[in-house]
């Protein structure tokens, strides 16, 4: 019996949340899960907040994750982690990339970007895992691979074999970017165990 897992991926348009959800879906499918993936992307390329929901289980009905239901939130940016935190279930894990992207109201001085988001979330006893995904992706050869660094960290939380992830990555990412993405995945995967520094 496969335990159901709900994963919410949150970020800013252009950060690669949709590609990350595709890789997760492909890996989960190969591992025998029923899957539903839901995304809202109409405004994505205009710099809006983007959320992708991936639900895994023996049989999945709703494509949506409700407030307080996500087992894991994979946050590609700090402010988006804060925005979607109410979707994390008690005891769930937040995996967060310590990158900040200012929304226009902040750039225009009409709003403040909250300070110390990660510390404030940690102070509430929430299980937080912080990654320097963007930095690690740059070290691996492409800043855009931060999404796959995060996936590597997520892989440690799910009962899916590493080889299955690698195959899903190869099937989803264009061949010329595969090497960088494989390295990025390794970086996230090892960072999550604390056993290595990645690239």
């Amino acid at each position: 019996m496969l335990k159901p897992v709900d994963v919410l991926m949150v970020g800013v348009g252009g950060q690669g949340t949709i590609l990350a959800s595709k890789v997760l879906a492909a890996a989960a499918r190969a591992a025998g899960y029923d899957i539903k993936v839901s995304e809202i992307h109409g405004m994505a390329q205009r710099g809006g907040s983007v959320v992708t929901q991936v639900r895994l289980g023996e049989k999945v009905y709703s494509p949506l994750i409700s407030q307080g239901e996500a087992d894991v939130i994979l946050a590609f940016e700090e402010l988006e982690a804060l925005r979607w935190l109410a979707y994390l279930k008690p005891g769930g894990t937040l995996i967060i990339n310590n990158q900040q992207i200012y929304p226009v109201p902040v750039l225009a001085g009409a709003a403040q970007y909250p300070e110390n988001i990660i510390d404030q979330i940690k102070a509430r006893g929430i299980n937080v895992q912080v990654l320097e995904a963007t930095k690690q992706a740059i070290a691996c050869g492409n800043a855009k691979a931060a999404n796959v660094v995060l996936l590597g960290a997520l892989a440690q939380k799910l009962p899916i074999e590493e080889a299955t992830w690698r195959q899903a990555l190869a099937a989803t990412v264009p061949p010329r970017f595969l090497e960088v993405n494989n390295a990025a995945f390794t970086a996230g995967f090892t960072a999550a165990t604390g056993s290595g520094a990645g690239c």
Binding site: V12, G13, A25, A26, R29, D34, I35, K36, V37, S38, E39, I40, H41, G42, M43, Q45, R46, G47, G48, S49, V60, Y61, S62, P63, L64, I65, S66, Q67, G68, E69, L79, E80, L82, R83, L85, A86, L88, P90, Y102, P103, V104, P105, V106, L107, A108, G109, A110, A111, Q112, Y113, P114, I117, Q120, I121, R124, G125, I126
Partner: protein, 585 residues
């Protein structure tokens, strides 16, 4: 073989497997990917029409001639297509005709959240509602069968969460693409009153036969469960109900016009308490009540917005059906609010200069549907109103005629794709009725908002072939507009000069602000730089609402990675602190 497909991709696959040979539509979220996916299948002719009315008329022609046809649009598109829709129910079809209406509860990307199930009932056509990708694909086949057997068009109504959610789909082999012979039949297809009256009677008979079919169709079925709670539901709500009330007996309606009255009565008699769970309007609930059946629906569930299982749980808890869900107040207590992250015009967007200038000139601006609607948000605030595709020009003319004080101070803005969709008739009207309106066509050479679809002025069609390119300047002149100017929207001083001249001039004027979408044609120009000594921190540059510019500690800061060197900020900077690379030729 199974594949993970979105509802939209599944509908396209259904079109391929079930022998559709023609598909037409106009892009609109969440329907757009159906035709984009379908255009890649062999053996199907597909096209973007300039608007939904034309797309449906193309579909009607193809079906009348004997082909299986699919027409796609978003919910508000059906408003545009409503005229032919209400009469094609009378004529009926020959080959099967499926109209996809992709509704958007929650308005993720729409100006309203109308429930188009009422259109099917109003126009007297059959209605199918899939609840996942597998059903979306299967129902294309079922819709074609129903359409041909009952001589009626079929609406396949999805919602955002069906259209844009992915689930597993069993793929099948395509059937042979057979075209039925065309037969001239004026009594059936030529709707003058005398023939229309005959077809009206025929329509009532066809609907009566369809009602019988609805009783027995496999897409209307009962999921057995506890007799304490029974739920009648359709579409995505079915999935939510299965998750939230796994014990309940459920009547799942895949065909929701006409409704299976006998099946509903039978199910109602089997359960102690009956609920109707449906997003938006009480479409099922009202019809079930009219059968004299007691149901609970909109007293406990909202009639606005999108549902999820959390919302259903809260509603059912409030009604005493489920225990109250545990709160997370403790976990979240004291955390700061996240400031909003609204979508904005992209860095280098050619529309930005137009809205900045309109705001500076303090003009009244009637707007339209597209990326540029974002130009109405602060700090650009360059648009006063937006109602529907093509409305800007008519609205500006209305203001011009009704309020003399605003004459010469009002402009309409409309994108190129939207102008070709339904702006042409508005402009024709302005010319015909001697308007003093000024229309700015924001011509970025694409349909940008929905993801860069081609249209009749881009020179390419959906199948990827070269196509004749409408000359918008010549088109406006041929409609009778004498004053037509083409300007580069990134040249602010020239733009301002032209807008001033055209709003002051009597008679209708058109300004074509032409520059390709910044995402479409990535021109490589050096990023601007800021001379820290000259910058006074006046924040004038922030009024452009450019995602690449911020002012930190009283100095402008440009994100060189995001800046595309459009040089608008160079033109608005009062102190000359922002400096461009090369001026654009």
């Amino acid at each position: 073989m199974k594949e993970l497909l979105s509802g939209n991709a599944a509908i396209a696959r259904g079109a391929y497997e079930y022998g559709i040979t023609l598909a037409a539509g106009y892009p609109g979220t969440p329907s757009t990917e159906i035709l984009e996916t379908l255009s890649r299948y062999e053996g199907i002719y597909s096209e973007w029409a300039p608007n939904e009315k034309v797309a449906l008329e193309v579909g009607i022609g193809a079906a009348m001639a004997g082909a299986r046809a699919l027409v796609t649009m978003k919910h508000v598109g059906v408003n545009v297509a409503a005229d032919p829709l209400f009469t094609v129910a009378y004529t009926g079809v020959n080959g099967g005709l499926v109209l996809v209406s992709a509704d958007d509860p929650g308005m993720h990307s729409s100006q309203n959240e109308q429930d188009n199930r009422y259109y099917a009932r109003f126009a007297k056509i059959a209605l199918l509602e899939p609840s996942d990708s597998q059903e979306a694909k299967d129902m294309v086949g079922l819709a074609l069968t129903i359409s041909e057997q009952y001589d009626i068009p079929v609406m396949l109504r999805t919602t955002t969460r069906v259209a844009h959610s992915q689930s597993m789909v069993e793929l099948g082999e395509p059937v042979a693409r057979e075209i039925k012979p065309y037969q001239r039949d004026v009594k059936k297809n030529l709707m003058v009153p005398a023939f229309g009256r005959l077809r009206r009677v025929s329509l009532a008979q066809r609907m009566a036969r369809l009602a019988e079919y609805s009783e027995n169709t496999p897409v209307n079925f009962i999921v057995p469960g506890s007799d304490k709670i029974g739920v009648i539901t359709s579409g995505i709500s079915y999935q939510l109900v299965r998750e939230v009330l796994p014990e309940a007996a459920v009547l799942k309606l895949g065909m929701t016009n006409p409704l299976p009255v006998g099946l509903i009565k039978k199910f109602a008699a089997q359960v102690q308490t009956l609920y109707v769970v449906e997003e938006l309007e009480p479409y099922l609930e009202e019809q079930i009540r009219m059968l004299g059946i007691k149901v609970t629906g909109k007293e406990i569930f909202p009639d606005t917005g999108e549902f999820d299982q959390g919302l259903l749980r809260r509603c059912l808890a409030k009604a005493g059906v489920l225990p109250a869900p545990a709160g997370q107040e403790e976990m979240l207590a004291g955390l700061p609010q996240a400031p909003p992250r609204p979508p904005v015009l992209c860095a280098g967007c050619p529309h930005r200069g137009v809205f900045y200038t309109l705001r500076r000139l303090k003009l009244t601006v009637t707007g339209d549907i597209g990326c540029y609607t974002l130009g109405g948000l602060p700090p650009l605030e360059g648009i006063d109103s937006c109602v529907c595709m093509g409305a800007s020009i008519g609205m500006a003319h209305g203001i011009d005629k009704a309020i003399p004080e605003l004459r010469g101070r009002t402009v309409a803005v409309i994108g190129d794709s939207t102008f070709l969709h339904s702006g042409i008739t508005g402009l024709l009207n302005a010319v015909y009725n001697n308007s003093d309106s000024t229309v700015i066509i924001l011509d970025n050479r694409t349909t940008a908002m929905t993801g860069h679809q081609d249209h009749p002025a881009t020179g390419r069609n959906l199948m990827g072939h070269e196509a004749p390119e409408v000359d918008i300047t010549m088109l406006c002149r041929s409609l009778g507009v004498k004053r037509v100017e083409v300007v580069d929207p990134l040249d602010i001083s020239r733009l301002q000069e032209v807008i001033k001249a055209e709003t002051a001039a009597p008679g209708p004027s058109v300004i074509i602000a032409r520059r390709p979408c910044a995402l479409l044609k990535r021109e490589v120009r050096p990023a601007v730089t800021v001379d820290q000594d000259k910058c006074t921190g006046c924040k004038t540059c922030l009024r452009l609402s450019c995602p690449a510019i911020s002012v930190i500690e009283n100095k402008a800061l440009v994100d060189a990675g995001a800046c595309v060197g459009c040089n608008l900020c160079v033109q608005v900077c009062k102190t000359g602190a922002i400096q461009g690379g090369q001026a654009d030729a």
